[in-house]
Every structure is written in structure tokens, then in C-alpha cells.
């Protein structure tokens, strides 16, 4: 009986992924405790977020991929509708129109699109057996570009980057011709000056200070300067847990959220970073393995895109904290404080588990 209950809860969970996720979340809690200055309510809040997110993951893991495929179009349509809603009635905070008040709570529809877009594209390429036709990629590009455009317009550079990369991964894995990729790359390079003209001031500033953070040490370069100081002063083994001066003395901004990696890096040093990278590589490797072994195109594409999006999160965040990428609002997956991204990420991992375990069941 107990076996059955345990079986019910664990049947669709992937132990490998679960272990890695647990390790990452554990690290997240430890760092958060330090980053928040020993603030238990912050840690408690994150625990609650984790509870919700793990439940969502469990639910996602228990939805068979074919059901997910059926959800693709409605989810995408809903997400798009909400994005339109945001553009029309969204609430502005911090100079960006990102939130939609739906009475009970405020939601950020762009977050839905992080799953919605790869879901939709995977479904589309699977549904129409579309593989090499240029027309299909064109449609795919439109499916991708419309929500990305809305999100970029909010403006939300980080999310639009993540959504477009998620979509791009589907297109790429579906077999988008190298010629087009290279050609597109060239076109984008050519469009950069135009893009520059369209960018918001704060976005331009971010790009400028990325190129030279010392230009504006107290303004927009401050984040990068302080985070590189934190990392660099951490050294090989770090200053030790709770001993990061940059973090404890308030020099690091946003140190529980986007810049939590700097806190981790300051306190645990290069070896800590190595551990984190290994965990990420394990998680991503497992994701790619699941993708490679998925039974249908839809699952393959979705699993690959979800995994690679996870990688994008990690890379962009660590890149910006260590000062090689501009500061865009991308959290460090499973480590940064914040419920929304945690739910989205674990939902994605839940899909991975679902793909893996349901295939196995079919197989068995």
C-alpha cells in the first residue's frame, strides 16, 4: 500500500534530475541565508516558493507529453492574449509595463511564454511534420517573433532574450538550415545599428557600461564592478560562508536575486563555482539525454529546448555577474530568490521528467 502511494508520487519523477535539482536548491537556500543577512523570513519565503514550484514540477511530470502537445496551442494563444492585455492595460513598475492585474493577483504573462513558445513551436513542427520547408521555419519565426516583440516592448530585455532563445533552440533542433542561421546572424549584425536606435536609454546604458563598467562606477556600472570585486576577492576557496564582505556590507546590489551568484562566488570561491558548474552540466546533460532518447519529435524538440533554455539562464546570469555579458534581468536558475522563475524552471524540468518517464512506460 505504502509502496503504491510512494509509487504514485515518484513514478514520473526522474531520480537523476531530482538529486541534481535538490542539490542546487539546497545550495540556493544556503546562499540565500547568507545573502539576505541571515533573514529567516526571506529563506522561509523561498522555501514556500520551492514547495509551490516542486508541486508544479510534479504535476508537469505527470502530464503525458501527448496531453502537453494538445495544450500547446491554447497556452500559446492565452499567453499572447495576455501579452496584448499587458500592452494595453498593464501596470507599470520600475519604468516597465510587465504586470497584469487579474483581480486576485498580478501576473507576468511573459513568464508563460518561456514555456509557451517552445511548446507551441515543438507542437507545430511535430504536427505538420515540418522539417525542412522554409515556409515552416518562416511560420515558426513568426510564432516566435510576435511574443518576443511584445515582451521586448514592455521592455523586458532578459525575458525576451530567454523566450527568443527557447524558440530558436526548437528551430535549430528541428533542423533549421545552417545557411539560414549564418545568414540570419549576418542580418542581425547588420541590423545592430538599427536596433541601437530602437533601444531604450536604459538598455543602451546597459550595453555601454557592459563594454566599460568603469565609465559609470556609481551608476549603471556599479552592479558589475561590485560583483566582479566580490568574485575576484573570493579567490580559490572563498571567504567562507557568511563572511563575504561585499555581500554582508551591502555593496552588492540585488544580491538575493539576480546577483546571488556573486555572493556564492565570494564566499565559496572558484571551487564553489566549479561545483555549481558541474551540477549545471549534469542537469543539462541529463536533459539532453532525455531529449535524445525521446520517442517523438515533439518530445525531442521540447525537451531539448527546455534544457537549453535552462542552460541559457545559467550562462547569461553567470556571464553578467562575472562581467562578460551585459546586465540583463536573468536569474540564476534554482539559486536566485524569486517564485516566478522557480516555478517556470521546475515546470520545464517537470516536462523533461514527463517525457522521460512516459516514454519509459510506453516502452515497458
Amino acid at each position: 500500500m505504502i509502496d503504491k502511494i510512494i509509487g504514485f508520487f515518484t513514478r514520473h519523477l526522474d531520480p537523476f534530475l531530482m538529486i541534481v535539482v535538490a542539490a542546487l536548491l539546497g545550495i540556493g537556500m544556503v546562499v540565500l541565508y547568507s545573502a539576505s543577512g541571515g533573514n529567516f523570513s526571506r529563506v522561509g519565503g523561498q522555501l514556500l516558493n520551492m514547495g509551490v514550484a516542486v508541486s508544479v514540477m510534479w504535476v508537469a511530470a505527470n502530464i503525458p507529453p501527448q496531453h502537453l502537445a494538445r495544450l500547446a496551442l491554447p497556452v500559446y494563444a492565452l499567453g499572447l492574449a495576455l501579452l496584448v492585455g499587458v500592452a494595453l492595460f498593464g501596470e507599470i513598475s520600475n519604468g516597465a509595463r510587465r504586470w497584469l492585474n487579474i483581480g486576485v493577483t498580478r501576473i507576468q504573462p511573459s513568464e508563460i511564454m518561456k514555456i509557451g513558445v517552445p511548446l507551441m513551436l515543438a507542437w507545430y513542427f511535430d504536427r505538420y511534420e515540418a522539417i525542412l520547408k522554409l515556409k515552416d521555419f518562416a511560420i515558426g519565426a513568426i510564432v516566435l517573433a510576435v511574443p518576443v516583440g511584445f515582451i521586448a516592448k514592455q521592455p523586458d530585455l532578459g525575458t525576451s532574450l530567454l523566450v527568443s532563445s527557447a524558440g530558436f533552440y526548437v528551430l535549430f533542433l528541428a533542423g533549421l538550415s545552417w545557411k539560414i542561421i549564418v545568414g540570419l546572424g549576418a542580418v542581425i549584425a547588420g541590423c545592430l545599428p538599427v536596433l541601437w536606435g530602437m533601444m531604450h536609454d536604459y538598455q543602451r546604458q546597459r550595453v555601454l557600461t557592459m563594454l566599460d563598467p568603469s565609465q559609470d562606477p556609481l551608476g549603471s556600472g556599479y552592479h558589475t564592478i561590485q560583483s566582479t570585486i566580490a568574485m575576484g576577492s573570493g579567490g580559490l576557496f572563498g571567504k567562507g560562508w557568511l563572511n563575504g564582505t561585499q555581500a554582508r556590507l551591502d555593496f552588492l546590489p540585488e544580491r538575493t536575486t539576480d546577483f546571488v551568484f556573486a555572493v556564492y562566488s565570494e564566499e565559496f570561491g572558484l571551487f564553489g563555482n566549479l561545483v555549481l558548474l558541474v551540477l549545471f552540466v549534469l542537469l543539462i546533460g541529463r536533459g539532453l539525454y532525455i531529449s535524445a532518447n525521446a520517442s517523438v519529435l515533439f518530445s525531442r524538440l521540447l525537451a531539448g529546448a527546455v534544457t537549453l533554455t535552462f542552460f541559457t539562464y545559467a550562462f547569461v546570469n553567470m556571464g553578467m555577474v562575472s562581467g562578460i555579458l551585459p546586465v540583463v534581468g536573468v536569474p540564476l536558475p534554482l539559486i536566485s530568490y524569486g517564485g516566478t522563475s522557480l516555478v517556470t524552471l521546475l515546470f520545464g524540468l517537470g516536462i523533461l521528467m514527463s517525457i522521460h518517464t512516459h516514454k519509459r512506460l510506453v516502452k515497458g
Binding site: E129, I131, L132, K133, Y169, F172, L173, G175, Q226, T228, I229, A230, M231, G232, S233, G234, G235, L236, T245, Q246, L249, D250, F251, S265, G269, L270, N273, L274, L277, F280, V281, I284, G285, L288, Y289, S291, A292, N293, A294, S295, V296, L297, R300, G304, L308, F311, F315, M318, G319, S322, G323, I324, K359, K363
Partner: protein
């Protein structure tokens, strides 16, 4: 299977679901020529991804090749995996660069972030009089300060603050001024010396005012107000110019965090001693600049205390004795050179300057016709008048130009050469038979006209120069005037003109080119009293080391010494004693004195008189009246004090200046307090009745 992956696919091969043929049809092109060539190579070359997901089946029907499609997907995944590994490797390189190669650099930056050096301003040394009475000290008080960086719009802020704390328009003005000339200060004071009530009121509301804080700070205070203000001087906020000077001298670090610097007087001159050595606190601060804890403290070293030779009580008596007259008094202890009293009237309240003087008070002080900011003792130059005569007499005796018995018959004038210019004695009709003794007692001009001629200017210059006239005394306050003791060489240098015999004649009675400061006159008198042993006049007697408590004595040794025959000294002294006895020019002031005083009265003309014009005091506007002078030392045989007094537009040395000396001597020698001040004499009131004899 035409193509194999170049490596064993690590994830195993999945079973692909079969699907009906797709719509799209594509004709296989077969292996390319390049591939054919590759296959002939002796080693295996990775084949690369399949180029197409389709190939013809056995029956020639175009259909989807699922395994090929899968391989292609796997290839793409492999590319992604490689990308993941590569990009993570880039991150790792970056981490390595930051955390290993640049570690020291960033460690330093982190420490600089974390630790700030907070200067601790040393306590300024005290200034005490010779009996230990405090002349300048520090007290702690609360100030309201604004850090303009973190505060909002300042005008609004000041409005809101003024509801809690009394902020006058002049406080605002000063705040603006300080804001403009702000050096490296983080916060600028708005109000100083808050009352306890104001502190309490603000503290309750402090959350409303970010960037505004109350700090306890040390303030300089001069408890005696105007008294001795010209001696003590004052401190004030460090100006930009002074900051530059500090930097040039390389002592700017010692002034970090300090707001004040000595400006004039002893505060200015002994700045180095008084300031002390700044301490430093290494404080761990957070990003907001709030200190979290102190890591290390280097205590400041308080400034050294100045113990003056000045006696505040004597100073007070002297100042009060001036009444409403303007003037100067310098009293020196001949045996040491210590300055016991140093008066310049009117004075000012040095406390006004400490926090930066407001324009209203500044205008009042600066534009007053009485010039209270001028240090008359130090900088005022006046013709010494008849106070020059004792030195002339001594010169005549010492250089053998006069014997004590040499007697002239004074007709009331002196004629230069054969029928040349006529020099008048102050007394019409002359004094009759005058020898050296009498010439001093009654202050005969004619005697000294002749003596001057006989001595010649260069002898006068050389001999009287020994008494310090015409040269800075070197007293320990800055800004001293040189005065003038003329010589041929000087006139040539100054006017490119030959010295005329006539120039010498008026020099003989302390007029002509002759100019001296009161401190010079007092110095000369002290040397005379001390029989040619010269101690440099100094206000500070000892500097007390704040750490060890050891006291270093200033000018302990004579600065110079020259010999004067005791006999001649005694002759001059006896005559100077008789000046203050019945029949002398200062007899009224010293009637009933219980000690012998050697003195000499003097009068210095403010405006030149035409020949033959009679000076009529009552008819002369106050500002053009003669200055009254008096020099003296007492007790005459064993002098405790030598002094010089100048009363501007006072009229006569005997009637106006000598009584001041009497009050001072009575206290110093007899310990007698002056009588309770009667209504102080005013120069505006009718001039005291003057006997002809008392004129000079």
C-alpha cells in the same frame, strides 16, 4: 545506414515511432564527391550531420527516413552540447581570471570598499595665562549637519528643519557659503550649539530627514571675550587658500576631518603646536557609508598647551584703564622678555570668528572708524615723540657728546647752522638753564635738537638701534611692523636722496622720519631697564607637551647683550624717576606712588603744524589731536615691569597715558586693585585741564 556518428552516441539509441510518409518529397543526391574522397582516406573522418532527412526507399517511393532524421537531430543536439561545454569553459576561464589571476587586485578593492579611514580630529591645545587662567579652550556641543549628497532639495529641507530647530536667515547664508567652499567635507553644518531641547526635538523626527544628522563636535571658545583678543587671535574655518598651503607644506593629512585652523594672533602663530596630530580609525563601513564596527584606532594626539607670560588680570586692568580711548599698551617683564600685558584697544570678540563671522558683524568690525581689528601694539606705527629722549640722552653720554653737567640756556628755539631753519621748543620762551637731568624731567626739545646735531644721524641710528627700534622685535605673533629708525643709508635707499642736516634735528625729539610700534617702544624700555641685556619679547612662556606634560620654555636665554656704562644708565634713570616726581611731566599720575618709577612722557603729532602755528587742543577735532605716549619701568632700581603706552588722540602723555601705567604698576608691584571704575573718561568729553608744564 549510410552515416555513422563519429563517436558512440552516449545516450543510447532510442526507438523512433513510425509515422506515415511525410508530404514533402526530396530526391536524394547521394554522397557528394567530397564525401567520396573523404571515404578513401586511410583514416576515418567524421562524417558530419546528415544533410537530408529523406532518401528513396527500395521501391523508389520517396519516404521519410526516421533513423536518419533522428541522427540529424542527435547531431544537432551534439552541437548544442558542445556549445554548452564550450561556453561553460569560457565562464570557467573568466572565473579563473577573476579569482586566481586578479585575486589580489580585487581583494584590495574589496578591502577598500569595506574599510574606510576616518580621521579623528585632535583636541586643540589650550591657551592659559601665566597663572593658569584659561584664555582659549574647547567644549563639546551638538551641531546639526546636512550631507548634501544624500539630502533632497536643500531649501525645502531647511524649511522643514526650521520647524524643529531655530534656523536664522544668517544661518542659511552661512550654510550656503560653506556649501560653496566645501572642501572634502561630507556634511555641512547648518546650526551649531544646539540646545538640548532642539536636539530632542530633532531626534524624534530624524527619520523624516535622511542625510541630516546631529553630531557632537568640539568648539573653540574664548571665555574672556574682548580681553586680550589681539593676543589670542582666533581660529576659523580652513579656507581654500589655507588648504592649498597645507598641501604645499605636506601636512594636509594631519588636517583631514579638521574644520578649523588658527588665523591670527597666537592661534595663528602657534598653529602647529596647538593643532596636535590627527588620529585615524579604520572603520568597516557598509555601502551606505554607515560604520559597522571599528577595526583599529590610532588615537589622536592633542595639541600642546600654551602657557603665556601674559597675566590676564594685568591685561584686564590695563584694558579697563583705557576707558573709551583707543590705543595700545605693551608691558614686558625685563628680566625675561615675557609679555605680561599686550593691549590694543578697541578689541573684538574672537568668538564671532570661530564659526565663520556673519556679514553683519564683519561689516560692523571692519567698517568701524575705530578699526578694532587692527592690532595697534603690533602693527601701529607712531612717532615715538619725547619717549625717544632717554635713549638720545644715553647716546649723548655714552658717545661722549654730552657730560651730565653740560648746560644750555634754552631760548625756546634752536637755529640750525648760521641763521638757518628754526626749530621750536614746545614751550614758548624756553626752559631757561637745562642740563641733561632737567632736559628729561621737563622734556626740553631744544636740548635734544642740539644733541641730535652733535651726534649725527648715523650715530643715533647705530646706538638707538641697539634698543630694537627700526627692526621687528620678533615677538611671537605674526604681522609685526618694522617701524623706522632713519639713517643716511635708509634715506638714500628709500628716497634716493641725500640726508640733510636738518633731517637729524627733529629725529632728536622722536619726530621726523622716526616711527615705532608700541611693542618696539616697550622692548626698548625693557632693554633700558635690563641694562642692555636683550630678551626677545614673547607672549608664550612655555609650551606644555600634551603627552608628557613637559614644559619647554621659550626664549629662556638673552638674545643679545651690549654694554652700557652703569654710571650713565643711572643718570638717565634718575632723570626718568624725577619725571614722575613733583616737577616732572608725569608727576600728577604718580603722586603718592610707593615705589620709584622711571618713565618718560611723549606726544606724537598727528598733523603737521605750520611754523609758528600754535597747537590748540580744544580747537582740534578729536581725530587730529596728538597721540599721548608714555614709557616706564618700575620699580626703577629692580624693574619688574617695563611698558609702553600709546593713547590715540589722547593729547598728553602725562595726563592720559601715565595714569594707565600707574594702574598697571600699582597692581603688579603693590598688588593693588584699581579703584572701582568711575565713569570712564571719554575723548569726546572736554579735554582735561592742562597746565603748560604738563604739556609734554
Amino acid at each position: 545506414m549510410f552515416f555513422r556518428l563519429p563517436f558512440k552516441w552516449p545516450f543510447g539509441r532510442s526507438r523512433s515511432g513510425f509515422r506515415p510518409p511525410a508530404r514533402g518529397i526530396e530526391v536524394s543526391r547521394g554522397p557528394s564527391k567530397f564525401r567520396m574522397w573523404l571515404s578513401r582516406l586511410p583514416f576515418k573522418v567524421p562524417a558530419g550531420p546528415p544533410r537530408s532527412g529523406f532518401r528513396p526507399n527500395a521501391r523508389g517511393v520517396e519516404m521519410r527516413d526516421l533513423s536518419r532524421e533522428l541522427e540529424r537531430f542527435h547531431w544537432r543536439l551534439a552541437v548544442c552540447a558542445a556549445g554548452v561545454v564550450l561556453l561553460f569553459f569560457v565562464l570557467l576561464l573568466r572565473f579563473f581570471y577573476l579569482q586566481v589571476i586578479q585575486h589580489d587586485y580585487y581583494m584590495t578593492l574589496a578591502e577598500q570598499n569595506r574599510i574606510s579611514i576616518v580621521p579623528v580630529v585632535p583636541n586643540r591645545g589650550l591657551i592659559l595665562d601665566r597663572n593658569g587662567v584659561v584664555l582659549a579652550h574647547n567644549y563639546s556641543a551638538y551641531t546639526l549637519e546636512i550631507a548634501p549628497k544624500s539630502a533632497g532639495p536643500l531649501d525645502e529641507l531647511l524649511d522643514q528643519l526650521s520647524e524643529l530647530v531655530d534656523i536664522q536667515p544668517r544661518d542659511r547664508k552661512r550654510f550656503r557659503k560653506l556649501l560653496d567652499e566645501r572642501r572634502e567635507l561630507d556634511s555641512v553644518p547648518v546650526r551649531t550649539r544646539l540646545t538640548d531641547e532642539e536636539v530632542a526635538r530633532f531626534s524624534v523626527n530624524r527619520h523624516r530627514f535622511p542625510g541630516v544628522q546631529i553630531n557632537a563636535r568640539l568648539f573653540r571658545h574664548y571665555p574672556n571675550g574682548e580681553i586680550a583678543s589681539h593676543v589670542i587671535g582666533y581660529i576659523g574655518r580652513i579656507s581654500e587658500k589655507e588648504q592649498t598651503k597645507l598641501e604645499e607644506r605636506g601636512v594636509a593629512a594631519n588636517y583631514r576631518g579638521a574644520d578649523y585652523i588658527g588665523k591670527v594672533g597666537l592661534e595663528g602663530r602657534y598653529e602647529e603646536d596647538l593643532h596636535g596630530v590627527a588620529g585615524f580609525e579604520e572603520v568597516e563601513t557598509d555601502a551606505g557609508g554607515r560604520s559597522v564596527r571599528t577595526l583599529r584606532t590610532t588615537l589622536p594626539v592633542s595639541g600642546n598647551n600654551l602657557h603665556l607670560a601674559l597675566d590676564l588680570r594685568v591685561q584686564e586692568i590695563a584694558e579697563r584703564a583705557f576707558g573709551k580711548f583707543r590705543g595700545a599698551l605693551v608691558a614686558i617683564e625685563p628680566s625675561t622678555g615675557g609679555v605680561v600685558a599686550f593691549v590694543s584697544r578697541p578689541g573684538f570678540d574672537p568668538n564671532l570668528f570661530v564659526e565663520g563671522i556673519d556679514s553683519q558683524n564683519w561689516d560692523l568690525l571692519n567698517n568701524s572708524p575705530d578699526k578694532p581689528l587692527n592690532n595697534r601694539s603690533l602693527q601701529g606705527v607712531y612717532p615715538p615723540g619725547s619717549t625717544f629722549k632717554p635713549f638720545m640722552a644715553l647716546a649723548g653720554l655714552e658717545l661722549g657728546k654730552r657730560t651730565p653737567d653740560y648746560t644750555i640756556s634754552d631760548p625756546g628755539f634752536f637755529v640750525l647752522g648760521g641763521g638757518g631753519h628754526v626749530y621750536r621748543d614746545w614751550k614758548k620762551g624756553g626752559h631757561g638753564m637745562v642740563n641733561l637731568h632737567r632736559s628729561l624731567v621737563i622734556s626740553c626739545d631744544t636740548y635734544y635738537y642740539g644733541l641730535a646735531q652733535d651726534l649725527g644721524i648715523d650715530n643715533i641710528h647705530r646706538f638707538i638701534g641697539q634698543f630694537g627700534l627700526g627692526r621687528r622685535t620678533g615677538i611671537d605673533i605674526d604681522g609685526e611692523s618694522t617701524g623706522l629708525l632713519p639713517s643716511q643709508e635708509w634715506k638714500m635707499r628709500r628716497f634716493k636722496q641725500k640726508w640733510f642736516g636738518g633731517d637729524t634735528i627733529s629725529v632728536g625729539i622722536g619726530q621726523g622720519y622716526n616711527l615705532a610700534t608700541p611693542v618696539q617702544l616697550a622692548f626698548a624700555t625693557a632693554i633700558l631697564a635690563n641694562r642692555g641685556i636683550v630678551y626677545r619679547p614673547h607672549l608664550v612662556r612655555q609650551i606644555e607637551d600634551s603627552q608628557s606634560g613637559e614644559r619647554r620654555t621659550i626664549e629662556a636665554q638673552p638674545f643679545n647683550k651690549f654694554t652700557i656704562s652703569e654710571e650713565n644708565l643711572q643718570r638717565v634713570r634718575n632723570a626718568m624717576i624725577d619725571v614722575n616726581r613733583p616737577g616732572g611731566t608725569a608727576s600728577v599720575a604718580f603722586s603718592g606712588a610707593e615705589y620709584p618709577v622711571a618713565g618718560k612722557t611723549g606726544t606724537a603729532q598727528v598733523v603737521g603744524m605750520k611754523a609758528g602755528e600754535k597747537y590748540d587742543e580744544a580747537r582740534t577735532p578729536e581725530r587730529y589731536r596728538d597721540h599721548a605716549l608714555y614709557i616706564a619701568y618700575a620699580p626703577a632700581e629692580a624693574p619688574k615691569l617695563a611698558l609702553a603706552i600709546l593713547v590715540e588722540n589722547g593729547g598728553h602723555g602725562g595726563s592720559v597715558a601715565a595714569p594707565i601705567a600707574r594702574a598697571v604698576f600699582d597692581y603688579v608691584i603693590m598688588g593693588k586693585e584699581p579703584k572701582p571704575p568711575k565713569e570712564a573718561a571719554s575723548p569726546n568729553e572736554a579735554a582735561p585741564a592742562v597746565h603748560e608744564d604738563e604739556h609734554d
